[in-house]
Amino acid sequence: MTPATAPRKTGLIRWEAVVPGFIALAATVLLTVFFLDWAIEFAIERAGTAANGAKVDVGDVVIGWRSGSLSIRRLQITDKAKPMTNIFEVESMTFQIAVKPLLWRKFIIEKGEIKGIRTGTPRMWSGAIPQKPIPGEKPKEGAKQEAAKPAGFNLPAGDVKEKFDPSKIKVEDLASYKKVQDEKARITAAADQWEKSADAVKVDAQVDAAKALIDRIKGTSYSGAEGAKKAAADLKEAQKVQADLKKASDEVNKTKNSINAEVANAKAAIGSIDALKQQDIDASLAKFGIGSLSTEGLTRAVIGPVWFGRIETGLEWFRRIRSFMPKKDKKGKPAQASTRAGRDIPFKFRYSWPTFHLKKAGISGVTSGTNPIEYGGSLKDVTSDPVMVGRPIVLDISGSSKGGARSVSVKAVLDYTRETAREEVRFRYSGMDLAGTALGNVGGPVSIRDGRGTVSGNVETSGESVSGTVDFTGQPMSLKHEMAKDQAKQKLMAAIHDSLGGIKKMQVSIKVSGKLASPALKVKSSMDSVFKDAMNTVMKKESDAARAKATERVNGLVDGEKGKLGPLLGGKSAGALSKLGVKAGSLSSIQGQLDKVIADLKTKGASSVLKSGGGLLKGFKK
């Protein structure tokens, strides 16, 4: 006998499961609360790792439910370039969170304390993560460092005389030749315009009218009261013609001045061709690594791409911070999310609480190495909505070592309260121990043997523009340059090696400009003159000979065409100026005659009036 199967239950609701359902819900909520510290730890590690590009680890998170506090202990942020080292490690971070705003999912931290910040601490395990290329993301640091490799530095590998071939200088590569062609075209086009302008100035009608009037007045007798009236009328007409002649004369002069100004400009442009020729010669020699070996390029090679990369990485942090700021579209609405996390749209809220606001946090820490610097300061107004808070993010840190031999100060103001984001960072780190610092590579690695240094900077951004300087001074200091034996045979390399060995003080100023995404770094250094001397000593004779050849070649290619420009300009402008000169001459001549006639007319008119009675004198004068 088979057991009877239970009838399948129907109906939409499992009434017997309602109570367990509520219990399950309550258990879920309780578990969430119970494991919230773990969830926060996980969230910090995940978001931090994504932002940093290398592992971010949190020791533990403790939530103080009664006090409304959150403590994060032993936060480690891996140095992406050195996965076994932390960029910095924080002993503890304690935040006092306002409870009421939490009901609206607003995290308002009234005060915080970030203690025990240490830089360059070793890690127990690697913090590297597999790198995934993200479409549209900027190249990684390594790629940037590659791009930052010195462009102007190029040591000649062999004999200069054998390497340099002037016939390889092509006319199409010369900026001076291009300028000659441009000027030729410009003068030719302008000359047509000059001719038209000269023709457009009409003086014949005015001259003819003046001539006719002069002839008529000369043939007229002015006697008696009738003569006085006639003289007065003719005088009026003569003065009108005189005004017309002046107007025509002014127009002639104006046109003449305009053409002369353009001719002067063209002459100046022709003059500038010589400077371009010089640049062409320098550029041609540089292609062969001769003569104009860039001292800036050499300085860049000595400092090394890693250090330039760090400046760029520092600037990139501004962009990363900006990416967390709320964005608006053209109509002022919150911008649509481009990420897979969506975007929170804010609405009018009865309290002025942003989603996140760290009002103030104290910061303290120590630097690494012997005789460390103990520093302290504050971080204010870190928020998800700077416009609502109305104050910029301000980081202010300073400190010094025992005895004051070393000191550090950083002041950063990140202002996102206005439409255009602005950042300003000022920093100074003095008394740095430079021994063993790896620099760049000039035919072999360069490093600092020993010394102390100061690095300071002042960098400002406004929107996408960036400007500022980063200065480094090392004094006293000495450099170490390792060079292979075969390179030691090269005169120039040996001279540079000796120069590097003789450096006791180094001042480097890096000027930052351009766009935040692709900053331009211009380097000036006290090493420039040292390198120049070294190059001149070794290469002067050979490079002078090469320069003479290059000059001869460039002159040969450019001067023929350039020589034609002067006559072309003279010839083309002369026609128009000559026409204007003739017109000015005829105007001047007839103006003189008319002036004389007007003077005579005034005399004749006055005498007629005297003869005919004093009553008319008043009228004539009038």
């Binding site: 399950a24 819900l25 609206w104 649509q336 999310a337 975007r343 609405f347």
Partner: protein
């Protein structure tokens, strides 16, 4: 082993253990939870419904897993819908503002474009998904199941020692 056990259970349910409506209902609720961000306040409601409504829980869990995997494909559309609802309809602004000002409600993240958009999309698609899945289960049982049971590979699998061992230790 857990995955195999789970799959066997689902096949068993699909074949005879549960009604098509229960399977479709469970999968629809799993679809709602899966296509929206899983850690959301509204999914507590979905969890409650899965327990209280007479739906198949195994199907719901399976659908949650499957739709969580494919949900990134829907994210751009969901986010666009959410953005439109939150910013594109002025008549709704007072409603959103009122919700925004209510305590606790903000934890639902209703003002997140992806959360709102995906929830609305899931609710719109819930009925068609339920109907299609119900029809699919019925069709499977009527047309496909018997044929599959005759497949040589199924016969081999059913007689394999692994399946035999599983059946022996099945609680």
């Amino acid at each position: 082993m857990i995955a195999l056990k789970f799959l066997m259970k689902f096949i068993s349910i699909l074949n005879k253990d549960a009604s098509p409506r229960q399977i479709a209902g469970g999968m629809t609720l799993g679809f709602i939870a899966g296509i929206t961000p899983v850690i959301s306040l509204h999914n507590l409601v979905v969890l409650f419904l899965v327990i209280v409504l007479r739906v198949n829980i195994t199907s719901a869990i399976l659908a949650l897993g499957v739709f969580s995997l494919v949900s990134p494909l829907f994210d751009p559309l969901s986010s666009a819908i959410g953005y439109f609802l939150l910013t594109g309809i002025p008549a709704l602004t007072p409603f959103w503002t009122a919700l925004y000002n209510m305590p606790v409600i903000a934890w639902s993240r209703f003002n997140n474009t992806l959360t709102l958009g995906s929830l609305v999309l899931a609710i719109i698609l819930a009925w068609p998904v339920y109907m299609v899945l119900g029809w699919a289960v019925v069709s499977y049982r009527e047309k496909v199941m018997a044929r599959i049971q005759k497949w040589r590979i199924v016969t081999i699998i059913n007689s394999s020692s692994l399946v035999g061992m599983y059946r022996r230790f099945k609680p």
